[in-house]
Amino acid sequence: MNTPTPAVETAGLGRRYRRTWGLRDCTFALPQGRVAALVGPNGAGKSTLLRMLAGINAPSEGVVTVLGKSPRTQTADALSRTAYLDQDRPLYKDFRVEEMLRFGSELNPRWDNERARRHLEELRISQASRVAQLSGGQQAQVALTMCLAKRPELLLLDEPVAALDPLARENLMQILLQSVADDNTTVLLSSHAVTDLATICDYVIILSASRVQFAGELDHVLGVHRILVGPTGSVSATLDGATVISSITAGRQTTMLVRAEQPIINPLWEVFEPNLDEIVLAYLRADASSARPQNEPMSRRERKSRNSNRIIQ
């Protein structure tokens, strides 16, 4: 077998915290050189997954390899190949920006200080300012710079664009694409901003209810999902060979997003090709109405909205 090592490979990966499973049954293989989007609602397990890939937390079950090695390996060499940006953007608050860079250069053999300095200069973040005095967005930029200056083979970014303005978002996407093109970096980033991601990512992992609902190349995702629009009541409990992800009924018309390996030929239904936004939204909608974990009872408001949605599964 001559296939190159996947950048990230998991099989049955799961992590439990006390009695709740933060992530369960997670299986996918992310090839190198991809920009992968990890999408899902809050609490779906995105941060849990990223932390396990980064080696911060240990899995409760399953297998995970990052760049061919278990994150448990923890050798200096293995650690230098992966960079991780945590959701909380941890920085040493009493450091100056230049001290953060010095910290990075002392702890990373392949640190590119010039690149970091230049990047921060372009963002007009002064080297002498204290981290605590920077705005949330500027702190996020500093934390991102720390990851990029490490020149890793794999970038794991947890909500990197959350605190950035639209222009900064676009700049970051450009930087990431450049890095992929120049160094064959693999990027795995989680985000809510699906619209941004759709333009740059070529691999998608959809997490929902602590499980992987879908993982695959963007072309494949777009190829197997279809939007069906048709009259209400004409849908059978199961469409042949297709899984209904979610559906919305408005009066006499039902719109469904389905996942089908074979093309759907049904005279009653109009078939459309969805874009990534619509696919992800459908999965998020499905998660919002699906059963809750047993120790998290649904609120009254949520139960009412679930009943009125009249989801046909």
């Binding site: 945590d86 001290e99 702890l107």
Partner: protein
């Protein structure tokens, strides 16, 4: 990486130095004033307890935040995903923190030693608790090199507790009673016998004891049968065990020393004093310091095991 290990701890180190500076000033002033006046007692008993606690508090203050504050602030997710292993990062921080702790304590130790000497004259006249007898517990704990052992043990204890509890405040709070317990056990039960004590005997008891006994640390003193230097098996050092006939003889009022000696001889008893002489001072200091340093290393090993166990 030494700069990084230092810079991360800088604010705690400066705070600790500030606190120690305050105590140093107090020691300087009270030592000089008391030394000059010789009748003025510049401190209260409460102040002294603080001095005894100081090496431990210093060690815990620098050790508890080492791992715990990184975890509670989340910066461990930054530090542990750079290109160094957790153990290496701990090693550098532990080394820097430990060296700083030792440095501060060494200076403090010199100051404490000078202070106990300076106030001891006044202490004699004011029963302040310092006896200018360096091997006795009141002085022993503040002089010599044991303070370094105490502080480094407390430092290592703080680091270990921080690795388990992961909140610096709680690690510090839990460290205090554990440190106190260790000190009490070693001082109360172990120290007396770390080096074989010396024995002194006479017929009149402490009133005519030698200079060696007066400058030593008296562990036990009692009447024992004349052929024995320690209590018979099954008996303790308690005074009342053997003294019936001696008490009857001794009961006469205003008995002189010669008379008391005669009573003792009659009852086939003699006074036995078990004590640690001043000549054992450095041996005891060395062994006790080694004990605490050994405990500190053990705790460091446990910390490394905890970090490696992955479930963090």
């Amino acid at each position: 990486m030494t700069w990084a290990a230092w810079r991360v701890q800088r604010s705690q180190i400066i705070a600790a130095m500030g606190v120690v500076l305050v105590f140093a000033l107090w020691l300087l002033i009270s030592g000089v004033v008391t030394g000059h006046s010789q009748t003025f007692k510049y401190w209260t008993d409460a102040d002294i307890y603080v001095l005894y606690a100081l090496p431990g508090v210093l060690g815990l203050a620098l050790g508890a935040p080492l791992i715990a504050s990184e975890c509670s602030l989340g910066t461990n997710r930054l530090a542990w995903t750079q290109s160094v292993t957790r153990i290496r990062w701990l090693a550098f921080k532990f080394l820097v923190g430990g060296v700083v702790t030792a440095g501060i304590v060494i200076i403090l130790g010199f100051l404490l030693e000078w202070w106990t000497g300076a106030v001891s004259v006044s202490a004699l006249t004011n029963s302040g608790g310092f006896s200018a007898v360096r091997i006795q517990p009141t002085d022993f704990d503040l002089t010599g090199i044991v303070v370094i052992g105490y502080a480094l043990f407390a430092f290592s204890l703080g680091v270990a507790l921080g690795a388990v509890i992961r909140r610096p405040g709680w690690a510090f709070a839990l460290g205090i009673p554990i440190f106190a317990a260790a000190r009490i056990v070693v001082q109360g039960s172990l120290r007396a016998h770390l080096v074989a004590p010396a024995i002194f005997t006479n017929l009149t008891g402490l009133s005519l004891s030698t200079l060696a006994v007066n400058r030593g640390w008296q562990l036990h003193s009692t009447l024992l049968p004349a052929n024995r230097l320690s209590p018979p098996p099954g008996r303790t050092w308690a005074w009342s065990d053997y003294t019936k006939s001696y008490d009857v003889c001794r009961g006469k009022p205003n008995l002189s020393n010669a008379g008391a000696a005669h009573c003792a001889a009659l009852s086939h008893l003699h006074f036995v004093v078990q004590y640690q002489p001043d000549s054992h001072y450095w041996a005891l200091q060395g062994i006790e310091t080694a004990i605490f340093l050994g405990l500190g290393l053990l705790l460091l090993g446990l910390t490394v095991m905890k970090l490696k166990s992955w479930r963090t």
